[in-house]
């Protein structure tokens, strides 16, 4: 079984490298070991989304039963998205679960993930806090997602208001990421975030 998995990954690896998306720097795959079971993926944040300009790193684990079972994929880069856990990077996407088909490839997975960044599904959330913000206050969600892209994925949009609020919390002795999570969860309301952190 493992034989098919390695054979397929080898082939798919070549496919991705030759694909036009790589030429456009939209997706990228790297091997992490010789047995083709662990890979590093990268996708570029799609244009006209809060993720634009960011580069998101993925962990890809290939099960022994691949391609009859889907690869296990999660975000290493922290991201603010309704269908991706802001804590663990776990992804809620049907093709990584029951809608997987053996004829799909790493390339289709990466492109589907890119499509997920363009079109979130807030009614099928992985991260309830993010999904609620998305549904109740879309502008606030976009601002937060953009800020996270800047902070973790190298995105170009700097939001000084956010940075200042985070700095205020850091000055109070809070760790940076923890401060960002608290502020993001409370729509950047410094008072409520502080309250939650110190309660």
């Amino acid at each position: 079984m493992a034989n098919i998995a390695a054979q397929r990954i080898k082939r798919e690896f070549k496919e991705v490298i030759k694909s036009e998306e790589v030429a456009k720097c939209a997706i990228k795959v790297e091997l992490l070991n010789d047995s083709y079971t662990e890979l590093k993926g990268e996708i570029a944040g799609p244009p006209d989304t809060p993720y634009e300009g960011g580069n998101f790193v993925l962990e890809i684990r290939v099960p022994e039963t691949y391609p009859f079972n889907p690869p296990k994929v999660r975000f290493i880069t922290k991201i603010w998205h309704p269908n991706i856990s802001s804590v663990t990077g776990a992804i809620c996407l049907d093709i990584l679960k029951d809608q997987w088909a053996a004829a799909m490839t790493l390339r289709t997975v990466l492109l589907s993930l890119q499509a997920l960044l363009s079109a979130a599904e807030p009614d099928d959330p992985q991260d309830a806090v993010v999904a609620r913000q998305y549904k109740e206050n879309l502008e606030m969600f976009k601002l937060t997602a953009k800020h996270w892209t800047n902070a973790y994925a190298g995105g170009p949009f700097v939001n000084t208001d956010c940075d200042e609020k985070i700095k205020r919390l850091i000055d109070m002795g809070i760790e940076e990421h923890q401060a960002r999570v608290a502020l993001s969860s409370y729509n950047w309301d410094l008072e409520r975030a502080t309250e939650q952190l110190f309660s």
């Binding site: 098919i4 397929r8 082939r11 009859f68 088909a101 053996a102 004829a103 799909m104």
Partner: protein, 481 residues
């Protein structure tokens, strides 16, 4: 008891009688009328069903598959997929198929929504799953024409079956939902244990999708109950003797409906902490305040200390219960509740729930004590027989009575969730009146069984008859299935 398919008209009328007088004498019309009384009308719990073994179910399913396959002129394996996705309803399916066969086949995921493209017929093909080039004759596809090599198909099926999937295995192509029919799967499974697993899983899927079939819920029981009527009626497994509701497969629950009993049981599970705390297992005698533990089924208590007779439910004097009105089963709502505060309303809601819950729990506990009661009965009868009061046979009627008591108490237990979810009004009043009547007769019966001193059974038989009549009357009026 209801082990069915025993429709009982004899073949006597077919016999050849040469003597006309004899014929008239024994075969009057009256006689036939009595025999032909419709049991459905007399017994509200009457239910025709049969207990089938796995082979019998297989035969039944295969007959259905064959009929449809002949009707529609399609292969049996496709007929099976169609039936599985259409609740095994042949007539409905035939109608749908004749109206629009393509749409029916697409809806059942037998054919792809868009017709497949033309096949490329080269001698060697690259399998997109294992990425190896192989001769064309090693390739297979479903109706969607997505070609994959033999080895990949069998690997795909093995992986899916190991995850418990059988009738729902789809094609391996992206976005293709066409299902693999049984013969296609079996063709690609070589290992005997995988074939066995597949057949076992798909059998379960078929039975579960068939409204007229129900797995016996008894532990390790493989019996399947079959009935033409899909109703919430009592069925009894002839192997493990488990009694359950045919429709939902849970404990039998007449007169309450399937959804209502589910709601009630969830509620009980959620609120049980409070309820357990409040409905402790012991109560104090209302007269001498000695602590009493209830160890039998009867609600008519007699304090062993002061001999005071009282009702376990309401702790009132039993004298007020003997006559016409037994009101312990009825919940009296506070008429001014609408004007009370939210807090008071919440308290009232809890009080109402606890009222019904306590009675539900109480009867359930009484039933659990049944074995103990029977044991006591046995030793008491032994004593009587030893001291020369009747023979063992003379006392057997008490066991019959105890069985009937359990049956009545069981129904009574399930009247409480029914009453809890009823809207206030005249129908509820009628229900609670009948419930109270049943409860009173059950308590009388219980009391009489526990204290039967003679082999004179007239009085007890009478009481049994009354209790059972009350039970069937209540079910006739309120069992709505």
């Amino acid at each position: 008891m209801e082990d069915t398919m025993t429709t009982s008209q004899g073949g006597e009328s077919d016999m050849d009688y040469s003597d006309n007088e004899y014929y008239d004498y024994y075969n009057t019309n009256d006689d036939i009328d009595i025999e032909q009384l419709d049991p459905r009308k007399i017994d509200p719990e009457y239910f025709e069903f049969s207990c089938l073994l796995e082979e019998q179910v297989d035969r039944l399913l295969n007959e259905t598959v064959e009929t449809l396959s002949n009707n529609l002129q399609i292969p049996p394996s496709l007929a099976k997929v169609l039936l599985h996705s259409n609740q095994w309803n042949i007539s409905e399916l035939t109608k749908k198929f004749n109206e629009n066969s393509t749409r029916t086949l697409i809806a059942a995921r037998i054919e792809p929504a868009t017709p497949p493209g033309s096949l490329l017929l080269t001698r060697y093909v690259n399998c997109s799953v294992c990425v190896t080039v192989q001769p064309l004759d090693r390739f297979y596809s479903l109706s969607c024409a997505h070609m994959f090599c033999r080895d990949c198909w069998s690997m795909h099926f093995e992986v899916q079956i190991n995850q418990g999937i059988s009738t729902g295995i789809a094609c391996m192509a992206r976005n293709c939902i066409v299902l693999a029919p049984e013969d296609f799967v079996l063709k690609h499974l070589q290992r005997p244990n995988m074939r066995e697993k597949y057949q076992q899983f798909s059998f379960q899927d078929y039975v579960k999708s068939h409204p007229q079939l129900r797995f016996c819920p008894g532990p390790n029981c493989s019996i399947v109950v079959h009935s033409k009527e899909v109703k919430a009626k009592r069925s009894t497994c002839n192997q493990c003797k488990t009694v359950f509701c045919f429709k939902c497969g849970c404990d039998y629950h007449a007169p309450t409906e399937c959804q209502v009993i589910k709601k009630w049981l969830t509620k009980c599970a959620d609120d049980s902490e409070t309820a357990n705390y409040i409905s402790a297992h012991t109560k104090d005698c209302p007269k001498c305040h000695i602590c009493i533990e209830k160890n039998g089924g009867c609600n008519h208590m007699q304090c062993y200390n002061c001999k005071h007779d009282f009702c376990w439910m309401c702790l009132g004097d039993w004298k007020s219960h003997g006559s016409e009105y037994y009101e312990c089963s009825r919940y009296r709502e506070n008429p001014n509740i609408a004007h009370e505060s939210v807090h008071a309303q919440a308290r009232e809601a809890l009080k109402k729930y606890l009222h019904y819950y306590e009675r539900w729990e109480n009867h359930s506990k009484s039933l659990k004590l049944e074995e103990q009661t029977l044991e006591k009965l046995r030793s008491r009868i032994n004593q009587k027989v030893m001291s020369g009061l009747g023979t063992w046979i003379d006392w057997q009627y008490l066991f019959t009575a105890a069985n009937l008591l359990a049956k009545c108490r069981y129904t009574l237990q399930y009247t409480y969730p029914y009453a809890y979810y009823m809207d206030t009004g005249s129908r509820k009043e009628l229900f609670e009146y009948q419930q109270a009547q049943l409860e009173a007769e059950i308590e009388n019966l219980s009391w009489k069984i526990e204290r039967a001193e003679t082999t004179d059974r007239g009085d007890l038989e009478n009481q049994m008859d009354i209790a059972e009549k009350r039970r069937t009357t209540l079910l006739k009026d309120f069992l709505d299935v």
